[in-house]
Symmetry: C2
Subunit: 401 residues, 2 copies
């Protein structure tokens, strides 16, 4: 279980909610530990999780398609399982005497889970879960992001005496402070992403295409049992394209290379930026890069619990301006990271959000000049009681090839 | 442009719609060719596409975050662009005389696109697009899947004289018949997926873990410029887990290996299943596999325009039963594939959906016995005028290692 249960309980109490219903892939995985494959890789398939601290013996209820009960079993999902929908799986057809006495754990749990009643649809299963736990007159926080308009209407009309409050932001606020189990996943994917950048840059040679470099980058990621997600890798003038996707553009002398990249490990994401230069960069590029780098370093120095996000923003922007990019402007200079690539908080101007120990942040100072170049420093860190613990530990200095 | 514009126009006419609004990643990419990175890799970010055949000089309007205009430029998205939101990018700060006369195409288009007015939010940009094209009293098909409840309310109240009809199914119906450009992408990712399976099986050895085999599988996929999506790879008793995720389970003598896998290339998906056996499989496994294989082969033989999906289902199920699995049951034996892993049509019992030339199908006969083994044959094919063109051409016979 990854979730910060204490923080979730406090948040529900503060909002006078008896329960919260998660419907997005991130929130379902967060509350229940259940990674529902079709929900993550497609749009449409539904799985839900309910957290009701006071009314149930098991605080978490999981609503899962019958076709994914093998994953529920294999992932050892805790909590009460409600299944919906038909999916054919055979029991062992051999005579009982010829069957093994003990199944492996995943198959065993799967076979037990299949005995639960079929609730036919996701919303009827959710309705049953809420009824079973006597939440029919409760105040319920509802993450509506994984529900259709019809689903919401059906749910609300099934519980005319309940009060539903939007809860997507509440869950994001809870998810903002990571548990050590989450930080361990984030540290692992940050390290994998840095090693993948290094592997790609170690292989760099004149004439290699952006696509060829991307293969090496993603190849290292999958070799470390992580999955590719974000792979913005550009050369030369294409570094100015903020979301640059690898093309047939070939590496030339004096090119810059920009990475803004990160895979996921166990659904936990990395987001790291690095710059390299084929040969010494120009004085202008060096000056501007150093300013951006010092901006992030200033942020890392300043991070600790109690700091306001808006103050962190101002300090980073001011540093970049003082160090060489007078006109530097950004809408944000960082964001949380976790199950989503953009978790709370956003490090944005005027934000009164206070940093807390356990937040994991990406601090970043991207800078783009159309048609010329893009530069970017982005590091991942944990907010600790005594300051920042940087997860991207290989250093974000410009690398000269 | 990938879309089947003729089919879309006919569908709008048949539903007496003046326009259709796409909001899901698949539908936006389909209508406009625009692949909006944040919309695809996260939940929440919004991009839209409007197709209005009669009222506009440009039939397609695209609503894009300002932060993704570089992708609009680099992807040479056709149509009228409406941008929303702030994102800082600098123009060339050098004196005009020192600037290059010609920018590369992507940077050039990006710089032009930034001059468009900022509509601040996705829904206000969409509202402007609909107003500009005099759709304020039109009948509009609306794909609601990428809109929040509030978005839908705002949109409908901005156009009190328009009629909005749900259009997600309409767009899925249009997407069911692929263009040759789409088929070319699907053929490529099918071939990549088959080669990735072969690479993994070529490297199989006793003692290798499922995770180690998955690395080789995904490694080949990224080496061919595709991206991993689905990687169900299991050994032995874990082949019975239908969504089996690679674990530390090590390959043993007499194990079965089951792949149900597929990456994407240019967002077009593959979904292919293969079975291997370490040494000769048991007579029971061989008999059951052959029945499943013959079921899919029967389907491939039967596929042509005009066939009903329900009849195809019956023929495949009957074949599997006659050939050795008397009790064989399934909720479907296949589905379309394209930008989504499950496109229309579903090959399901009683379905009156008629196959059309250009549909791309996965035909599959999975079979699971809890605690014992899972077997599966799944091939990709194009419905052609004269029958099936199989895209997974390396053959789906059980491979003995």
């Amino acid at each position: 279980m990854m979730m910060n249960e204490e923080r979730l309980r406090l948040s529900l109490a503060a909002h006078q909610l008896d329960a919260v219903v998660a419907t997005s892939p991130e929130n379902v995985t967060y509350l229940s530990g259940f990674w529902c494959l079709p929900q993550w890789i497609r749009r449409g398939p539904q799985a839900f999780a309910v957290f009701a601290p006071a009314t149930a013996t098991q605080p978490v209820q999981v609503i899962a398609p019958t076709s994914t009960l093998d994953l529920v079993g294999d992932q050892m999902v805790q909590g009460e399982i409600y299944r919906y929908g038909a999916f054919h799986v055979e029991a062992d057809p051999r005579p009982l005497a010829n069957q093994p006495e003990v199944l492996d754990d995943a198959n065993q749990r799967h076979s037990v889970l299949r005995n639960r009643a079929d609730h036919v649809t996701a919303v009827t299963a959710l309705t049953a879960a809420l009824n079973d736990h006597r939440l029919n007159k409760a105040r319920i926080g509802l993450d509506e992001t994984g529900l259709s308009l019809d689903d919401v209407t059906r749910l609300k009309s099934a519980f005319p005496d309940a009060v539903f409050e939007p809860a997507n932001d509440l869950l994001r606020q809870v998810r903002a402070v990571k548990t050590e189990a989450e930080i361990s996943h984030l540290a692992r994917i940050a390290a994998t992403t840095e090693r993948s950048i290094s592997a790609a840059l170690d292989a760099a040679q004149i004439g290699m295409s952006e696509q060829e470099m991307a293969r090496i980058f993603h190849g290292q990621t999958v070799n470390e049992d992580a999955m590719p997600v974000l792979g913005c890798i550009g050369f030369g003038e294409r570094t100015a394209l903020m979301n640059v996707q690898p093309s047939s553009r070939r590496l030339q002398q004096r090119d810059l290379i920009r990475f803004d990249v990160g895979g996921h490990y166990g659904q936990y994401r990395a987001d790291i930026a690095r710059i390299a230069s084929v040969g010494e960069p120009s004085r202008e590029v060096r000056t501007k890069f150093d300013a951006l780098y010092k901006g992030v370093m200033r942020g890392i120095d300043m991070v600790r619990p109690g700091i306001q996000a808006g103050d962190l923003f101002d300090a980073i922007i001011d540093t970049v301006r003082q160090e060489g990019i007078l006109h530097y402007q950004r809408n944000h200079v960082g964001h949380g990271i976790g199950l989503d690539g953009y978790d709370f908080p956003l490090i944005a101007p005027g934000s009164a959000t206070v940093l807390e120990a356990g937040m994991v942040l990406c601090l970043e100072t991207p800078y783009y000049e159309i048609g010329r170049f893009g530069l970017q420093v982005e590091d991942m860190l944990v907010v600790r009681e005594d300051g920042a613990e940087v997860l991207s530990a290989m250093g974000s200095q410009l690398r000269v090839l």
